[in-house]
Structure formats: C-alpha cells, structure tokens
C-alpha cells in the first residue's frame, strides 16, 4: 500500500472512469434506506468553520475517518506544480508532538489502515479503524491540520520519493503519459492543464518553503470538512470533533482566481511516441458539468449517454466496435458531471491488430453520429438506469465508498443532502435529451484528439529464455 494518491492515479493514469454513475439512487434504494439500522447522515458545524458529517452504519464494529481539504492541483501556479501532492506526502512527516513516521505507526498500532489522495479539486486523508480507536485518529488529524513541522531533511528525502512516483506512474506508463499531454493541450489556460503529480522540472526545483507556503495558505479548519462513516453515534462524534478540532482557529483564506478557459474554436490533435505495442486513441470533447443542480439538464443527459455507450459489456462501444466489427481490442467512454473545473467527455481505446488509429477514430465518430442521427433506444436508457440503482445499493456494502461519495460531492460544492435531487434528475433524463446533448457537444470545434504512436523496444527482451543459475 504505497502512500498517496488513489485519486491522483485515477485522474492521471486514465480519464475518470464510469464509477460516478454509482451516485444515483432510486425509489428502491429509498425503501432500503428507511429500514431499521440503516445509514443515517448528520451534520454539525464547529465555530471555527469546520464541518463534520457523520453517517451511521452499524453493520460492523469499524469506522472510516476522513479529512478533506478544499484544495487540489487546480489551485497551483506555474513553477510549483505538484506542490499539493508533495504536501500530502509531507503530512506524514511529523509535528512537534508526533515525530516523522509516527503517524503511520500509531494508526498501525490501532489496527488501522491509512492513506491519502490528491486530486485536481481536493486533498483528502483517511483512516479505517476499529470504532473504539476513532478518538485517537481525530487527535492525530487535528494535530497535523495546524502543526506540521515540514523539516528540510525530511523534505529532501520525500521529494525523491515523489519523483520516483512520477517515473512509476506517468513516465513509464504510455496511457498515463498520453492523458497528461492531452490535458495540457485540451486546456490552455485553466489549471486542469497541469498534471496532479506536477511536471518533473517543478519537482526538481521545489523546496520545503514551497510546501510550507502551501500549507500555511490552505490548511485550516474553515477550508476542510471531516467525514465519519461507521458504527458510531453522531452526537458522540460531534463531541469528539469539538474536543479535538474545536481548538484550532479559523484563518483567512487566499482568494481563488477563476482562470476561465477560453472557448475552443477548432480541432486540436497531438501524437505521443512511447515504447508500447498497442496504439491508443483518446478523444475529449468540452462539455458542461453541474453548476446549478436544479436547473441543469445537460450534465445529467451526458451521464446517461456515457452509460449507454460504455456502462456494461454489451453497451454500444463494446458491442459494436469490439465485438461486432472487431475494430478495437478495447473501447470505452467516460464523463464526470461533478468537478470544480471544466468538463470533458472522453472516448478512448486501442485498435485491433491490423487496424489503424485513423480507422478506430472513425469508428468512435461513427458511434457518436449514430446517436446524433437516431438517438438511443428506450430499453438502452432503462438498462442504464437499472444499473445505476443497483450500483448505489452495492455501495452500501462499503463504508469507504459511502464516505467517498459524500466527500466528492462536497468537494465541488454540492451538499450531500442534495444527493437525492441529483438522482431524481438523472432518473428523469429522456431519450430526446440524450440525443440533444450528442448533437450539441460532439462537434470538432471543441474536440481534442490524442494518439499514442507505439515504438518498439530498442532490443526485444528475451523474457522467456532459460534462467541462468538454475540446475
């Protein structure tokens, strides 16, 4: 379990996956939730601005504790990209009362598991523990919220670890590399153009002072929220939160500049060469995300379209491009309707042996044209909705997944209590609305296409030759 970044990986290795559909509920789920002993959600705000959200789930004697900061890589500036994620690593390197590495030791001694992740929109820390160890976790998180040491020596070691992480997860991963370069082209002004882990050159020149500056600017109770899901009593959790987090003072937060991306007017295309066997084509259309939960229609329709295209094995892209035409070894779509920054609708995959990138791209475009011309069938839409409902029920089997759902919604400014309205809106999407968004947004003027041009290895490794040194 290496440190840092389940979400970093999710975002920069590949486009965000279709998992977000799992956010939807339905009448069925509401019935389930109203049963005895099922999850209830409560919220409390401390005087210093910290919000505490508790969901009681008494199925097992454990709890997950998370602290989310409303700051991610999109708040970085040129020259110090990657600092949000580096600070996340440094958060494990000690305070005056908890020495370097001691945080992990104490969580482990409590029988817990802990980690953290940085995304474009937020930075979050979590521990999964037996429920009786929750107070200690709060004490530890409250301590590092304001008292981080940020020692120079620790920094100089840890920045090397982060550079190794970048080598491992981006430089040596053709798909991640392609996604990184595509983002830098699709966005020219908005900070979504920058990789979460940062450019290598910025990591090389980063100092402990950069990390300190970031910490002082953004780590404060009024820029954070705490989520606890598990076998807990919400009033007791609120009292604990008052005790541990309540003593921290609020701070004045820096202003966030809008950095609005100018409208794209014309197709953008790039090619990346890397050692690989399979070509990859990735297409990204600029689309809206949810800004007004009640009035918006298009983001919900785009979610449903994504499910119809790629929500299951027999969804359109897989059925038509992989199975029937054998044009692709893989073909998928993905879209996330909730983010702080601008949205993209992705289509991507790899052509089959003997097929070109051009042919595969034409195949993807043909699928979009089909939706634009004929729309989607009623049974396809109903199937997508049925899957979403089931996924939401399955999510109740994981405390961690329930906490993530609350955290991600809150990170983009959607109150978790609004969740049910989102579900209603998604359930109300019609086939006509799906066809409308396909016509409205899938146009070349707002498209970026990235292609991986695979390069042979300099010398083919003889990985299967007999092993030296065996009898």
């Amino acid at each position: 379990m290496p440190a840092a970044c389940t979400d970093t990986c999710k975002f920069y290795q590949k486009p965000p996956m279709t998992m977000r559909y799992a956010r939807m509920i339905h009448l069925l789920l509401i019935l389930v939730l109203s049963g005895p002993a099922m999850a209830e959600t409560y919220e409390h705000r401390l005087a210093n601005g910290l919000r505490v959200i508790v969901k009681e789930d008494r199925r097992a004697p454990t709890a997950v504790h998370m602290v989310w900061y409303r700051v991610g890589s999109m708040d970085e500036t040129s020259g110090s990209t990657g600092v949000a994620h580096v600070l996340e690593h440094m958060m494990f390197k000690g305070t005056p009362s908890v020495g370097p590495g001691e945080f992990n030791r104490r969580v482990a001694a409590a029988g817990g598991r802990d980690n953290a992740f940085t995304s474009r929109d937020y930075t979050a820390y979590f521990q999964q523990v037996p429920k009786e160890r929750l107070p200690e976790m709060m004490q530890l998180e409250a301590d590092r919220m304001r008292h981080l040491t940020l020692d120079e020596n620790e920094f100089s070691q840890e920045i090397k670890v982060v550079m190794e992480e970048r080598r491992l997860r981006t430089e040596d991963q053709p798909q991640a590399l392609l996604f990184e370069r595509m983002s830098a082209m699709a966005f020219q002004s908005h900070p979504y153009r920058v990789p979460i882990i940062g450019w290598m050159s910025d990591l090389e020149s980063m100092t402990a002072a950069d990390a300190r500056d970031w910490y002082e600017r953004w780590y404060a109770p009024n820029n954070a929220y705490v989520i606890v899901v598990g076998d807990v009593e919400h009033q007791a959790v609120f009292r604990l939160a008052e005790q541990h987090y309540g003593q921290l003072s609020a701070r004045t937060l820096s202003a966030r500049k809008p950095q609005i991306e100018p409208a794209q007017a014309g197709l953008r295309r790039l090619v990346v060469k890397a050692p690989a066997e399979l070509p990859i084509v990735m297409m990204a259309y600029k689309v809206p995300v949810i800004r007004d939960l009640e009035r918006d229609i298009d983001p919900y329709a785009l979610e449903m379209l994504s499910a119809v295209l790629a929500g299951h094995e027999a969804a359109r892209l897989s059925r038509n491009l992989v199975r029937q035409q054998r044009l692709a070894v893989d073909a998928a779509a993905s879209y996330d309707s909730t983010s702080r920054g601008p949205g993209l609708f992705y289509l991507y995959g790899s052509p089959s042996e003997g097929k070109t990138r051009t042919e595969f791209e034409a195949g993807l475009r043909a699928e979009l044209a089909l939706v634009q011309r004929d729309g989607v069938a009623a049974d396809e839409l109903a199937r997508a909705k049925a899957q979403l409902i089931a996924a939401q029920i399955y999510k109740l089997d994981s405390m961690f997944a329930q906490a993530m759902e609350i955290g991600q919604l809150e990170s983009v400014g959607i109150a978790h209590a609004q969740h049910r309205r989102m579900i209603d809106k998604l359930q109300a999407v019609s086939a006509e609305q799906v066809q409308d968004v396909a016509r409205k947004y899938f146009v070349d003027d707002v498209l970026t296409v990235a292609e991986l041009d695979p390069q042979p290895l300099p010398r083919a490794p003889r990985a299967r030759s007999p092993f030296v040194g065996r009898h």
Partner: protein, 431 residues
C-alpha cells in the same frame, strides 16, 4: 507516546479484541460433490455467490498455456438460447454483475445480485447456464484469442510484466506454476482446447461454492444444489507435485524505462501450513506492514530510492512464492538491491525485535474487524477457506494464532523457508 503506557494499554487491548470471532460459516456438500460455504446476512438486500474451480493455469495441458484464462473469458459469451449481447444486457437489466479471475490454482466466477426474488432468480439462472452450458461460439473464440494475444504483446513491452514473467519462470522451473501464456502459445490454441479444458476442469467435484448475503439456509441449499446439478459431477482434481526449489541466481534484462523493476524471492509455503502465522507476523516487520516496515524505512524513508517497496508470502495449493518487489530510477538499481539484501540478511539472522513483534501483533490483531466489515470481504475469506479446505474456525482462531507467535518462531520459520542461496533476483531496466 510513552512506551510503557503503550505496552500496558496494548496488552489490555489485545485481550479485549481476542474475543472477536469471525462470521458464522455453515458448510455442507451437494449430492454431486461440490463443497458449499454459507454466511447468512440480511442487513443489505444483496446476494453474493462465488464459485471456485480447481481450474487454474497449473491445470493446463502441456503446450496449451493460456487455455485456462481463455476458457474463463469465454464462459459468458454464449449459452443455449442467448448470445453474448443478450447475456450482458440481461445482467445489466437486472443490475447484476459478474466478475472473476484465474490464478495458478483457481478459476473464479462471482455473481453479485440484488436479493429480491425477481432479480436474483433470473440472475442465478444465468449463472447456472454460464457455468454448465457455455457454448464457446467460434466467432467469440477467435476474437477473444486475438484480444488476448494483443494484450500479451502489450504486456511484453512493460518492465513490470517482463519482470513478473521472468520471476515466475525462474522460481518454478519445470513445475506447472511456471506455465505462462505467450502470444505464440495463445495463437496456437483451438476452440477444441477450450472445450476440452472446460470439460475436464469445470465440474462439481472441483467446485467450491461460497454464498454470502440475504438468503435463508434452505434457499442457499437449493441454490447450491441447482448450481452443482447444472455441471457434470466429474472427478476431483489431482494433487500437484511439490516444486523443486531454485538454486538462486540473478537475471538482468535491459529496458528503456526510467525505472528498473526489481523482484527477489522463491517458492515457500502451502496454504494451510501452520508456519503461515509466524511468517505473516515476521513479514509485517520486514516488508508487509506498509509504511512501518524495515524495507519501507530503509529504501523509501531514509534514502528516497523508491515510491513503493514491499514483501509478501502468497501461499497456494502447492508452495507459493515469497516476493520482495520495488521500482527505482535505473541508475540506482544496484544501490536499492544492496540495501534490500542487507535488510533481509539482518532480519534473517536476528528476526524482529520484541518491539517490532508487538507492533506487528497490534496491527494484525487489531485490524481483524477491518478484514470482515463488508459482505464482499467476508465472501473473499469464505471462498478462500472453502477452496483450500481450511478449518471452519480459521477466522475465529486467527487472532489467537497471531498472538501465539514469538520472535523465536519467526526466526525459525524464516530460516526454514528463506534460504538466501535459493533466492532468485530479477532486474528489468537499464542497459
């Protein structure tokens, strides 16, 4: 934290938590010979069913490497009356999900469905057909074979995959566990190979059915009986021979990647070996305990040589591997290897300190509730107990078995299974 207070507090804590028991597991056998394990849980309207067959890659015929995975991939691509699109659409309509995988020992097929009768009934009907009556249509066979070849070729460009394949071939030599699909071996497979593999290996005698969720015992019995009746009774799987141990050695393969990938290890223990507990506890201190292990401290924290470094034991039906793995900038691969070997040698000669032993026990015992806090996790555990025929009180006694480990037992177990002269090293990267 005051160490004395910790010591006292921790001992008390251990005493309290040792009382925790696993879920109540019921076990029986169907008339046609499938083993069944069942955990009843009505807190969510969810049913999970996992069927494990002794149909892993070790069961492939000579020259047929890749047939186990290809058979598994084709199971849900055609049954009487339904083609692949109809099957996948039906599952999606029901909100049901199929998953699974293939390793050396097992081929697993897992169904997650809502437990209401109108959902679970049709979903289970499909599962029965998928396991017992797959048609292996020729067009799907040819397509999946081509996709598998493409994926294998892609993997052979990646340093991690090259390292892993080289490592497995090296530690298992001529044993069936060494068998690995290649683009060539898969290209040579015929549809009849898949049909043969299914006929020989997917049967009731080789099946373990794990059921967890919103179902009564009577319903679970009927479900298991129906499932196993859908398959031929067949014959039980024969035991695999014990692998010969490698005689050490180091293999280096050039690669243009920025990082070198390092693997060290050898075959060690079987699933069910009583020495598993001292090895598990010891390995926590060596390289299994995440951020608090010796390898993590020396390789990552002190020297910044790697993002991730870890070690683990993976017991199988036969001697499964111990492995240490890491990735580092290729220029410093030798330094990382030197540090790793030093850490390992010190650990083998001295074992963990008493403080490390206590920390390992605290975590492994204290985290026990986290191993079982969802239906999904209970299913994984129960399927493992069933397939490897572990005692039914395995989970109930898990904490007690860990508590009984001593420094001496760790040292003895490590020196029995980790002989440095037999340890294989693979480095992929650099010139």
């Amino acid at each position: 934290m005051n160490p004395m207070r910790c010591l006292i507090g921790c001992v008390l804590l251990l005493a309290v938590q040792l009382a925790a028991a696993g879920p109540k597991i019921e076990r029986w056998q169907t008339p046609s010979g499938a083993r069944v394990l069942f955990v009843e849980s009505h807190s969510l309207p969810i049913l999970d069913v996992q069927v494990d067959f002794a149909a892993g890659t070790a069961r492939e015929a000579d020259g047929k490497a890749g047939s186990a995975a290809l058979t598994h991939a084709l199971l849900d691509l055609g049954v009487p009356g339904m083609d692949e699109t109809q099957i996948a659409s039906r599952l999606a309509d029901l909100g049901a999900k199929l998953s699974g995988g293939v390793d050396m020992d097992r081929a697993s097929v897992a169904l997650r469905t809502l437990s209401m009768a109108d959902k679970r009934g049709p979903a289970l009907d499909l599962l029965r057909q998928i396991l017992g009556q797959p048609l292996f249509p020729n067009d799907a066979f040819e397509r999946e074979r081509a996709r598998t070849v493409a994926a294998l070729k892609e993997a052979l460009t990646r340093p991690d995959a090259i390292a892993s394949k080289t490592f497995w071939a090296a530690i298992y030599g001529a044993h069936p566990y060494a068998r690995q699909a290649t683009p060539e071996s898969v290209s040579a497979l015929e549809r009849s190979d898949v049909i043969d593999f299914h006929a020989s290996n997917y049967n009731a005698q080789r099946a373990t059915i794990a059921i967890v969720g919103d179902l009564s015992r009577a319903e679970a019995e009927a479900l298991a009986a129906d499932l196993s009746l859908a398959m031929p009774a067949g014959k039980p799987a024969e035991a695999l021979a014990e692998p010969a141990l490698p005689s050490g050695g180091e293999r280096r393969i050039a690669h243009p990647a920025a990082q070198a990938h390092l693997l060290l290890g050898l075959p060690t223990i079987r699933r069910g070996d009583p020495e598993f507990f001292p090895l598990l506890v010891g390995n926590y201190s060596l390289g299994g305990g995440g951020f608090v292990s010796r390898l993590m401290k020396e390789v990552r924290d002190k020297r910044g040589l790697a993002y991730s470094v870890q070690s683990y034991f993976h017991p199988l039906g036969q001697l499964g591997p111990f492995q240490i793995g890491m990735q580092t900038k290729k220029e410093q691969a030798d330094e990382a290897l030197r540090v790793t070997r030093e850490v390992l040698a010190t650990f083998l000669s001295q074992g963990p300190s008493e403080a490390e032993l206590l920390a390992a026990k605290q975590n492994l015992i204290g985290s026990f509730p986290l191993r079982l806090d969802s239906n999904r996790k209970i299913l994984e555990n129960v399927a493992l107990i069933g397939f490897y025929d572990l005692p039914l009180d395995y989970l109930d006694r898990y904490q007690e078995n860990i508590e009984r480990v001593t420094v001496e037992r760790v040292r003895a177990a490590f020196s029995r299974v980790l002989r440095p002269g037999q340890m294989v090293t693979v480095v992929v990267g650099g010139e």
